[in-house]
Symmetry: D3
Subunit: 287 residues, 6 copies
Amino acid sequence: MFFNIKELQYHAKPDCPDPVFARKLQEVLGGQFGEITVAMQYLFQGWNVRGDGKYKDLLMDTGTEELAHVEMLATMIARLLDNAPLATLEEAAKDPVINAILGGSNPQHAIVTGLGAAPSDSNGYPWNAKYTIASGNLLADFRHNLAAESQGRLQVARLYGMTNDRGVKDMLSWLLARDTMHQNQWIAAIKELEEKEGIVVPTTFPRELEKQEVSYVLFNFSRGDESATGRWAHGPSMDGHGVFQYVQHPQPLAAAPKLPPAPPYIYDTPPYALRNDNAGASLPPMV
Amino acid sequence: MFFNIKELQYHAKPDCPDPVFARKLQEVLGGQFGEITVAMQYLFQGWNVRGDGKYKDLLMDTGTEELAHVEMLATMIARLLDNAPLATLEEAAKDPVINAILGGSNPQHAIVTGLGAAPSDSNGYPWNAKYTIASGNLLADFRHNLAAESQGRLQVARLYGMTNDRGVKDMLSWLLARDTMHQNQWIAAIKELEEKEGIVVPTTFPRELEKQEVSYVLFNFSRGDESATGRWAHGPSMDGHGVFQYVQHPQPLAAAPKLPPAPPYIYDTPPYALRNDNAGASLPPMV
Amino acid sequence: MFFNIKELQYHAKPDCPDPVFARKLQEVLGGQFGEITVAMQYLFQGWNVRGDGKYKDLLMDTGTEELAHVEMLATMIARLLDNAPLATLEEAAKDPVINAILGGSNPQHAIVTGLGAAPSDSNGYPWNAKYTIASGNLLADFRHNLAAESQGRLQVARLYGMTNDRGVKDMLSWLLARDTMHQNQWIAAIKELEEKEGIVVPTTFPRELEKQEVSYVLFNFSRGDESATGRWAHGPSMDGHGVFQYVQHPQPLAAAPKLPPAPPYIYDTPPYALRNDNAGASLPPMV
Amino acid sequence: MFFNIKELQYHAKPDCPDPVFARKLQEVLGGQFGEITVAMQYLFQGWNVRGDGKYKDLLMDTGTEELAHVEMLATMIARLLDNAPLATLEEAAKDPVINAILGGSNPQHAIVTGLGAAPSDSNGYPWNAKYTIASGNLLADFRHNLAAESQGRLQVARLYGMTNDRGVKDMLSWLLARDTMHQNQWIAAIKELEEKEGIVVPTTFPRELEKQEVSYVLFNFSRGDESATGRWAHGPSMDGHGVFQYVQHPQPLAAAPKLPPAPPYIYDTPPYALRNDNAGASLPPMV
Amino acid sequence: MFFNIKELQYHAKPDCPDPVFARKLQEVLGGQFGEITVAMQYLFQGWNVRGDGKYKDLLMDTGTEELAHVEMLATMIARLLDNAPLATLEEAAKDPVINAILGGSNPQHAIVTGLGAAPSDSNGYPWNAKYTIASGNLLADFRHNLAAESQGRLQVARLYGMTNDRGVKDMLSWLLARDTMHQNQWIAAIKELEEKEGIVVPTTFPRELEKQEVSYVLFNFSRGDESATGRWAHGPSMDGHGVFQYVQHPQPLAAAPKLPPAPPYIYDTPPYALRNDNAGASLPPMV
Amino acid sequence: MFFNIKELQYHAKPDCPDPVFARKLQEVLGGQFGEITVAMQYLFQGWNVRGDGKYKDLLMDTGTEELAHVEMLATMIARLLDNAPLATLEEAAKDPVINAILGGSNPQHAIVTGLGAAPSDSNGYPWNAKYTIASGNLLADFRHNLAAESQGRLQVARLYGMTNDRGVKDMLSWLLARDTMHQNQWIAAIKELEEKEGIVVPTTFPRELEKQEVSYVLFNFSRGDESATGRWAHGPSMDGHGVFQYVQHPQPLAAAPKLPPAPPYIYDTPPYALRNDNAGASLPPMV
């Protein structure tokens, strides 16, 4: 169960209106690696944890915090749209300079949300749940969390350089710090789980059931051997169970497949039309 | 530039038809963490690498191999649909038992693809490019790759237990082994990059520009202190730049936001209607 | 800012496993009118309110409660998947009866989420943000809220009849009651706003700027005059500003449009090829 | 069955080209609440009505009219793109001012549709059927219709202020008037149905099967009691069956859920790795 | 402008209920090549025709007819759901046989549409406008129309074999015949346009601006020379402007690209971390 | 199985940075008819061919070549973003002219991909697999291929006129030539198959099972008889099996459908509320 207080976790107040930056900021609100993604991802992971304890609590702590970040970004975007010449009256519509600058804004901020934030990315693409995963396997999921926080902090860092509004930068500095923590915490949790259970997810799948001959082999499918010089091509494997090998000329192990014709009621290309011999190209008697 | 040979990297031949399993197998072909995802993700990362050398080569090697896995899965699915009572003639349509079993098959395998594989997941949801990322920051991207391979191997392991067809299991054992390698290789590459540049992505963002007071703080937003017992709540941070702290009662740092009214031409709720006082509920003079 | 407690708002415990019903229940969790929709919709409306007071508080109260409903449904679905023969071992895979029944389950519950809930609907289609609206105009939005609660309660009522599990029914009876409240509350809020500002959204758009001749006219575009007998076809209009009229034979008011040719660099069909006269069909001199 | 005449219901002719406004106008053609949405929604509701008579006729009348609005908007957009420097020849491409202004146009209007309208919104997001509902319950659906017409008219009103083209404004004044009618007619139909069957959808669900203790309760989940001052927090409920109550400190009614471990073949996090005690962190014997 | 009559173009009445077939039939209503696709595609092509005359009229004729097919399919699906044990009462929920058969039905037909059709495909994926194209170039578009009618008739033919309901078969025989006509008509229109303007779309692009050396070359990128035996590999090209050639060993014409580093504010992988030499792996001084 | 070489099939090097054109170029990389579409479509068609020989080889040849085009476009886009003032430092953010021009760029090129290409279209909409088809029926699929190549070349031709960068034009001239070949080759393959099996897909469906009375009839559903003058309205049908007819006044052949009420547990509108007679509007006794 959740409670809300209307105070914000941190300030979300720009110095000036900037509808073009409001559009860009949508990326870290409703984009692939935005705050809605991590909020939903952590909450579903928390609810799906089979077992209880510190991991579930960590997920619920962090997922709940991310809701506060969604709130801060939504507030900031609404304020960046305040007093902006975004949805111009007729007079403003005549000014080519304003119109040109507004070319970079999101028309839906005026037409659809009435100067409010939207749960979409910087191109107006709506957030969807396939950005998230809650697999029930925490090591797999925490790696996804670390990846999401890495992409997320990267995007915030890029946005930081695209504005000179002190209020916006101040809020972004908060998000950057929180992403620093979140990367650190998922690394800590991953390390702990790897020490407990191993590193190749799922760690409990019986190794003898996989085709172990190729479990530590790098196949060279792109011409040039630069990849042979990496750590992944020689020495003991990272999971400690094998030795990396490099195969310069990978060979196929199975013949080219030939699929039999489909039954007639599927109406695929009829077999006689697939025969290579054009000599047989006379049309068969139709039904 | 690419070349194809029609031989398969490994066998993809089931013992028996099984249209219900064909549907399930679509998940690791065209789902969120299926082979199309990793193929496209690695190729785009490779093309977007700014610089050259072993990382780019590794990405192109692996992305190109994943195309071969897409091919194997497409072949396997087509064969699982061979000779299946999937698209029954009228007579077959009368048999309730067959119909019941076929309830778990994907109707599009008969209607749309004519007994072929589709680039969709096990629920018929089409693959889309938002499953992938190529950010230009390799540490961020390799973490995403590791996460994708972890989820992918997890799904293949689950599928392994859902069939007793030796041909299918044989192919899955190949995919499991390759995913073992791919997890190992991304871990190796991540370790190398972390040693070179640090661990908090992006590593080059100036630390003094983030709000460092909260860079190593775990806020307790979910009642109960289990998360305080984790490694992430005490001791030096994983990046070596701070000390983890636990805040039991997080406080908001900013006042509840109040947004001013929108200008009239936005046609938001008019200010007089937002006033709490119902006394003023008499309708204002209309234009 | 948000806080979570791990206790549930209400019980979410089925008597028995039922993976087929777990799939169906996804509809009201992650479907078009599921709990994620109303949670996200009310929160964004709350954040975008321009002004403060009871409407914003009501939105935040209700949006925050809906998060608790997401939590209950996620928990219920995970429990319905417990002990189910969903992801059968090889042995179970041989039983046609079990397989047949499982035809109605969602394969992603086993393959993707590992017996957990997903933020998708009953066909595995992921939740997306276009299910929601936060327009800044509360009367428009509250009508959407009422519509969503009406569809939502309808779906829960239908699900209620599809199970005989007492635990599931108990939880659904809670959701039905809450939806009763939410329909009542939005009706109350709508009524209040309509009394304050009028009923045709947006109420502040100057009426003389619309084409008032057709503001209260029902055009008969479908043969038969049954619709002429409704309240909407005669008597004073609901907004009190006009009188409903019925036009039996609507006429077009503008000529059929003829668009001029596009410029050559658009490479639309060349004008000479569009001419009706086939006589001119000789190929023009190519560039 | 349908018939088309090529004349337009109303004029759709701008005074001047304006590719930037053409992009914006797409919102009310192919957006979430655009004309395609209402056309498809009313037609499907009409086809799904179980019973006949005036409601079905009203739906078919209105859905068929909306097709005419799709046609008008498509025509207007094509004309706004006529003679525009949208898809510039090489020479025009050199002019930074034109380029800047064109920044706000939709590149697909030149590249994809060849100066024609597209069934997408103002950000190029394609129309999809999840914008619509036809539930079989007319009261639920008519409320959705009223909501859609409210959002739609709001968006048209906003667009009206963003242009000073008299031809465009003339067409928008027509759409505004028709949306006035459509809001009025759905209100009339809703009122009639509510008088016949009650107001809480579905009205036929037995009230004693819902958890009536909470059917009229407002839970205060967001700190602050402003919402307690609303009509929804005291007095008789809108449906006449209860009395609104306000609960200042809502309490959870069910314990925090603990989900049991998944079976081994699901490969979730193994139970020993979930135990809080780090002492047990030694790796178990692997298979 | 459009008119509707409520009579159907042709019968749409099944002999018996069949909710499983109702799900399958959705494919040709709301799927990729279903009737909504062709209706919307032809209407938008018609509205976007720049010029007037028989092509526009043909598009409007056919697009308007397709609306009637949407109507027929919606009606048929609703009737297939009548009297079906789809949304069973509690008692029915106990019968495993019925449940098993219903595994193949679409749960949204009961939960969401209340025994009505939905604008989605046979897996519940909603129709979206990216299935369609209206490019302004009629030859390009008519080819797409022919392709869509070919896929559409193929799907209807497959469905014909999956049922033994005479009423359903009767309606499908109508759709098959209409698709025969529509394939014939687009072939006729394509032939006419090709005779007028040529066959390589766009026909008006100056040939000397393309890289004519490779305009008629088949590159052998997949090992094996079977494709060299086709008509496309020798003899005059189909457009009459060249001669087909076969290149057995295609060579790249451009060097492997090396992208320069991104500027620092993009926070891509820093150049020192991309250097192959691991010797330089000591962490640089951080800011 | 696939191999990659890092050299490009053809040059992909612009003369100058141009982030606005980079956005536009995304259309033919990741749009509806971009290179990803044809690559995936041809490969899946190749894998699903039931039978072997020259058609499969042609598909694999061409699909593999398209991967090289994806590579060229990704490279070109990354280079167009090099040295562009896209992601400006604070100073650059102050320049309104630069900002205005950048209004037309894709913000995700800076924020998400770090100056790299994305698998999306020119509006940032991600590529998805529903752009493709592999039906198992080659004649149907080759028609779709021809349509895709026609739209694709049309889009490239339009882009050619929107830039004056010689490097970009050089690469586009390559793509235009290859699309010329691909249109030619699919036309050749279609012609061959039509000669072998006939032209109405699927050609093997028994003609007597379709409603042959309407197999060659053009119904006039849009007022005006221009379409009667086309080849499709008179003379022998293109498939040689019938004679085109024109029906000026099409009549419905089936009565208006009336659907019976749904069972009570579906909670559709109750029958008494659907009755036209308002006299009966008194509320029935509730349960």
